[in-house]
């Protein structure tokens, strides 16, 4: 049960990363590699502030702003300096590596003695269960795990709702249209460049916010924590689309969140079954492949059965 709660919690936290990548990759068709750097940037800013005694909400908010700045840089490099999308992201991600080291002052910052959102999550869990531990469907769980899951779920729900509302405003609709039909939106007098910059700022703000939450949940920030995150985020977005099978904003946001959770559940299953550590990534890839093809394969089988 501990592993299940943890997989859901990390899945929900990283769904914010996936939502950021959904905005850049699906809304703008922009392959934004900045995410690998901005998730660590968010963790670094939050960790540095937390170790200086700042409030966890202020630290997490500052992480969002920091990520938004990084995204703005990528957007400006691409739209104003006409640098290729991928290269803009690579440049900012590379620069962030050094910036993250400067922000933290070292390559790893422990947060075990700092007051973080995880501390509040523990208090929430205690308040609900009345003790340091609780029983969930017969399994003993700690108040911290329970509180962390609930807090992560609440944060993700609120952010997903805000994003859904935002994408239904005039600005949000213009953004979606910028990605879908650049010429049409330009003809309507909207600056596509500005839309891309704002979109990447929001996307990387979310990614950095995910980094801040992950650092607080795990108890440390590390300069290497962003390596490969873009890949997992993209995988979550694509799995999410396969799971939901609809392109509406609400469905895409829900699918992205579920895709992220499913991805972490798959890793948890691979770990739980005691697979050879060397095979972890291979098995994860096979599971993801199965998750992608199974729904359509089952649909085909059902259709075939109905036809005959």
């Amino acid at each position: 049960m501990t592993l299940l709660l943890s997989a859901w919690t990390i899945g929900l936290i990283l769904s914010l990363l996936a939502l950021g990548i959904y905005i850049s990759y699906r809304v703008f068709k922009f392959a934004d590699i900045t995410a690998d750097g901005s998730i660590t940037f968010g963790a670094a800013v939050a960790a540095a502030m937390l170790t200086h005694g700042r409030h966890p909400l202020a630290a997490s908010g500052a992480a969002f702003v920091a990520g938004a700045l990084a995204g703005t840089c990528t957007g400006v490099l691409h739209t104003r300096f006409k640098i290729n999308q991928l290269l803009s992201g690579i440049l900012v991600m590379t620069a962030l590596y050094s910036i993250n080291l400067h922000v933290m002052g070292q390559s790893n910052l422990p947060l075990l003695s700092a007051t973080t959102l995880a501390t509040y999550a523990q208090d929430l869990g205690r308040w609900i269960s009345g003790h340091d531990s609780a029983t969930l469907m017969g399994w003993p769980v700690s108040a911290r795990d329970l509180g962390s899951l609930l807090l992560a779920a609440a944060i993700v729900l609120v952010i997903a709702a805000i994003l859904w509302l935002f994408f239904n405003t005039n600005l949000g609709s213009a953004m979606r249209a910028s990605g879908d039909n650049e010429q049409m939106i330009r003809a309507l007098g909207v600056s596509v460049g500005n839309m891309i910059v704002i979109g990447l700022a929001i996307a990387n703000g979310l990614v950095a916010f995910a980094g801040a939450l992950l650092a607080q949940y795990q108890g440390f920030a590390d300069v290497q924590m962003g390596i490969g995150m873009i890949v997992w985020g993209l995988a979550s977005v694509i799995i999410g689309r396969a799971l939901i099978g609809s392109d509406s904003v609400g469905a895409a946001l829900t699918g992205t969140i579920l895709g992220s959770v499913l991805f972490r559940l798959i890793i948890a299953l691979a770990l739980r079954w005691g697979l050879n550590p060397n095979d972890l990534k291979l098995v994860t890839a096979i599971f993801v492949f199965a998750a992608l093809v199974l729904p359509s394969a089952m649909q085909k089988v059902r259709r075939h059965a109905a036809a005959s």
Partner: protein, 330 residues
């Protein structure tokens, strides 16, 4: 599909439902080795832990069983490793690396944790001092034998004043080792040139840059990156006729002339001795955190000969291991 995966995960844990964890001093311990990445140093440390358990009189299969979990460099999986171990009712976690120790400190507060392959348990958050630490945690920190290496340089190679080393700013262990080397060099009156390298592909260029900085010798800090890419450093030094001093045994075989080894294999062995004490009933809260201090001197006569540097006989005699020369390994 998400519900199905959650249900399968819960079913995998069905046998532990409602069962209290009972741990006695005599049962077969489930030891979980929790690792962040799969590099040469981690393998060394792991081999050291297994040797240490055997040295302590514990028998694999009878007294304990080992499960190895490795995040393969994915930081988001580190917590899941600890949770997987707890879900499987691990009796003890043995962590390898700073992130896995930190995840264990956060997520495994009711299971004994023994750490190794960490440059500073205190800096990682394991405690305020070696005796005032998290009650379920003990372990061994390892910093390179800087003072010993610099004393050897000062005594036997008095013309060497400017040293150089590659380091990876992203590796916590290397950064801590760099800070310690800085302080030791200042005390001993050496100058040190540092060249950063982030990836294995950076190492050849970084090594060439280091050799061009007018250094008298390389004193290579231990680390994941430099251990796996040591061949490039040794080759660049050989081309520039600069002797290499190092801190890891494997680097003596790889061409370093003198190695003052205080390595992860030995500290892993020592961590296993602490684990054995816990398995025999000791409370981790009463076991102080330790800074591993044992060193062994290894000299490579072939490397010295290729540079036409005579190694002082007294240094060779004091070496625990001599590589090359007419007598071969000793």
């Amino acid at each position: 599909m998400v519900i199905a995966a959650s249900a399968i995960l819960l079913l995998s844990d069905l046998q532990h439902r409602g069962r209290a964890q009972a741990r006695t001093a005599s049962h077969k311990w489930k030891l979980y080795f929790v690792q962040y990445n799969d590099v040469i140093d981690v393998k060394d440390a792991q081999a050291g832990v297994l040797e240490g358990l055997a040295e302590s009189g514990l028998v694999d299969g009878r007294d304990y069983q080992v499960e190895i979990l490795n995040a393969q460099g994915d930081m988001a999986t580190v917590s899941a490793l600890v949770d997987a171990a707890i879900t499987a009712h691990a009796d003890m976690l043995i962590t390898f690396s700073t992130p896995t120790l930190q995840a264990a400190l956060r997520r495994a507060q009711n299971v004994p944790v023994v750490y190794n392959y960490v440059s500073s348990g205190l800096k990682a958050g394991a405690g305020k001092s070696n005796t005032d630490h998290a009650p379920n945690v003990t372990g061994v920190s390892l910093l390179p034998a800087n003072d010993e290496a610099l004393t050897i340089l000062k005594t036997h190679f008095p013309t060497i004043r400017r040293l150089g080393t590659l380091y990876c700013p992203a590796e916590t262990n290397m950064v801590n080792a760099k800070i310690a080397l800085d302080e030791a060099a200042k005390r001993a009156g050496f100058e040190i040139e540092y060249v950063p390298a982030e990836t294995a592909t950076d190492v050849p260029d970084a090594a060439a840059a280091l050799m061009s900085r007018d250094i008298d010798a390389v004193l290579q800090l231990p680390g994941n990156l430099t251990a796996s890419a040591f061949g490039s450093i040794g080759e660049a030094a050989r081309r520039s006729h600069i002797p290499v001093f190092a801190f890891q045994k494997s680097q003596a075989i790889g061409g370093a002339m003198v190695v003052v080894a205080r390595d992860y294999r030995d500290s892993g062995r020592h961590a296993a001795h602490l684990a054995a004490r816990i398995m025999r009933g000791a409370n981790p809260a009463t076991i102080p955190l330790e800074d591993f201090g044992k060193t062994s001197l290894i000299v490579n006569l072939d490397a010295a000969r290729s540079l036409n540097i005579p190694l002082p006989p007294v240094l060779v005699r004091s070496a625990r291991e001599v590589i090359g020369g007419t007598g071969g390994n000793r």
